[in-house]
Amino acid sequence: MSPQFKRIVRTSVAAMALCTIAGSAFAAWPERAVTIIVPWSAGGGTDATARMVAADLQEHFGQPFNVVNRTGGGGLVGHAAIANAKPDGYTLGVITIESTMYESQGLPGVTPKDYDFIGRYNADAIGINVSTKSSYGSAKDLIDAVKANPGKITASGANRGGLSHLAWAGLLNTLDIAPDASVWVASDGSAPAMQQIAAGAIDVVSTSPAEARSLVEAGEVKTLALISGERSELFPDIPSTDEIFGIKWSPMPFRGLAGPDGMPKDVIEALSGALKGITEDAKFKDFMKSRGFSVAYQDADTFKATVMADYEGLGKTMKAVGLAK
């Protein structure tokens, strides 16, 4: 080995060592690929929005943001995987409102306390859909029918105790009707429920307007109202239940970024800022609109407050309607 070569080796080793020290001291997150866990299956609404957010984050930070679907157990498996990841900022996830409900359902594994929140990017109210062949012209008609014939009107949209169920049962409860006056038909998500209503096997499906849209356009199904405190920007013609009945019941399903509890503060700040930028981007807004999703950004603290309020409020309602264990 020539002395010159030795010198080169020595300097480069020294340089590399220096880099590593500098790297760990002033770690410029992200230095490598980041994983985003999605607790719902590929192709669904949460997955699609997560992939869009991931693509934009990748552009912003210059490192790959890989979306990984970890499904099963009504989202429980994926939500727990996010909470149990190493809090180094390299494993994040998209969380949904279901994460606030597992504890009340008697499912151990994850509560909102296990997360560090980054920000919310979407929230859409659940709609009440009926068949166009039915005689219900408005949400009032439907509710009157439930009151008049307890046990006759069948509703579906998710598993028993899922958010769709809770929104519907909670609405009945708020209106002083027994939550079981309308029979809940447990289904695996909204698609089979929509199939049931089109085939005329059930009466009501409570699901987001985005998921009902194709059948609404087909003239098979109509959306009577949104179970919400306000109208949606995307569907301004659909009234909200609060304005129809003069009540207060607004279970708002959300999608937002979160990570395991204990992540570095600067990482959360960087991500939250980037997410804000993404939600203000015209391309992202167009994409969300095309799928019928609203863009609803909340920063880390506001998002945390929203989730914690749901955690408490939904838990109470679940007890009231007999869904808590």
Binding site: G74, G109, N159, A191, Q196
Partner: protein, 522 residues
Amino acid sequence: MMSFDILASALSVVMQPAVLIAIFFGAVYGLFIGALPGLTATMSTALLVPITFYMDPLPAIALIVSSTAMAISAGDIPGTLLRIPGTPASAAYTDESFQMTVHGKASQALSLGFFFSAMGGLIGATVLLVTGPLLARVSLNFSSFEFFWLAVLGLLTCALVSGSNMARGFVSLMFGLLIATVGLDVTTGAPRFTFGQLELMGGVSFIPVMIGMFAFSEILRGFTTSKTGEQSMPNIGKIVPFKGIGGLLRKYPFSAIRGAALGTSVGALPGVGGDLAAWIAYGMSRRFSKTPEKYGTGHPEGLIEATSSNNAGLSSAWIPALVFGIPGDAVTAIAVGVLFMKGVAPGPRLFVENPTMPTAIIMTFFVSNLLLFPLGYVAIKIARHVLSIPRSVIVPIILICCFLGSYAVNNTLYGVWIMLIAGVVGYLMERNGFPIAPVILGLVLGPVLERNFIMSMQITNGNLLGFFERPIACGLGLLICAIFLFSVIKSVRRWLSGDAERRRKALIENAKDVAQTRSGDA
């Protein structure tokens, strides 16, 4: 329904270089994914999603269409050569096609796989082009009551696919149904058989089980039956792609058409899909065959019917997705997502406002299925080399594929464990004469059966007569009860006449033969 103008404009859109290139690359990619044991069409589609971000709507969809069509046909290759189904759709007839290989007819088995897949796909696409929206309207009339009966019909085919011993096939089926109950129950969210394990709450996916039971158990069997570890592979015979297809076509003219018709109608029902179509087609073919005793010994008839049905079902699964936005399976669910992302909202308005788009999508099915002929030719030529690779090289490769495929299901080691356990269980089952195909059938149909039964029961408030109240459900129900009663009466009469004893002996002889050839001793 389709005017000539629309057809012409759709054709010109499909013939654009960008679309054709997308179809070609999708096909080549699908060929690889399908041919690797354990990687499924769903997985190949999910991997394509990020790429579609940067493409125009039609090329993006064409990429998905051609890759799934090719993956589902190429899934027959490892099934035929190594007895490892490449996709769940080919699990129904893997034993049959492998038996053809054992008998030196690998070339014929592979050729008919590709040829009749393409035929089924082409027939299916033609039907869609003519009746698409109408078919979608009909499929919307199916509720949980009808789906329940269809699932029962699927379970009945177990008796027909489980080979020589029906009772053991039934045990295997029940085992599959039992595994399907693991996880959070969809009705109340109650955990079942989870033993407090978080991962088990998500249930047991049939993909790692299938990989384990077919592929990993095959490797175990290889180790225990050969002393040297260098055991010879079955004689391939002469590989001449597509030779003798004409003869098969003349001999079984209705099988392909019947398979394609069944595939098209079952595939159009959301949530049931092409996998089930393959099982029912195989069972139906055996039922109506003049020579049912040849099934399971390397007989092409059932293969023709089943392989054409799953390709036909693939294209019709897109109809409810395009017309009503109700995806029939995971692949179309992803495709609907991609369409939305491209600003093309599926729905009847799509057919009215922009009829070129749905027509062009169906046409990409034509082109992809036509591509099956040349690519199939190449694939068969290459596939022969698989069998000439020494076992000591191919086994580690298969093992790697097993691990990859089962890990990729949910990106956790949990899938790998399931695969390994399923492999050992599958090995023990086969050793003791329990067929493994019915386990997969039970796993695939278990959730469909349970969910639709529970949904129906909640609607009728527990009244079982509800299953006969809707016209289609009633028709299906009566048909299935008739099939069931007919089989029972037939076997009772046979038992009384003493025929059963003779038949049983013949079957046992047959089973011994099969067992011997399978373990490579023959």
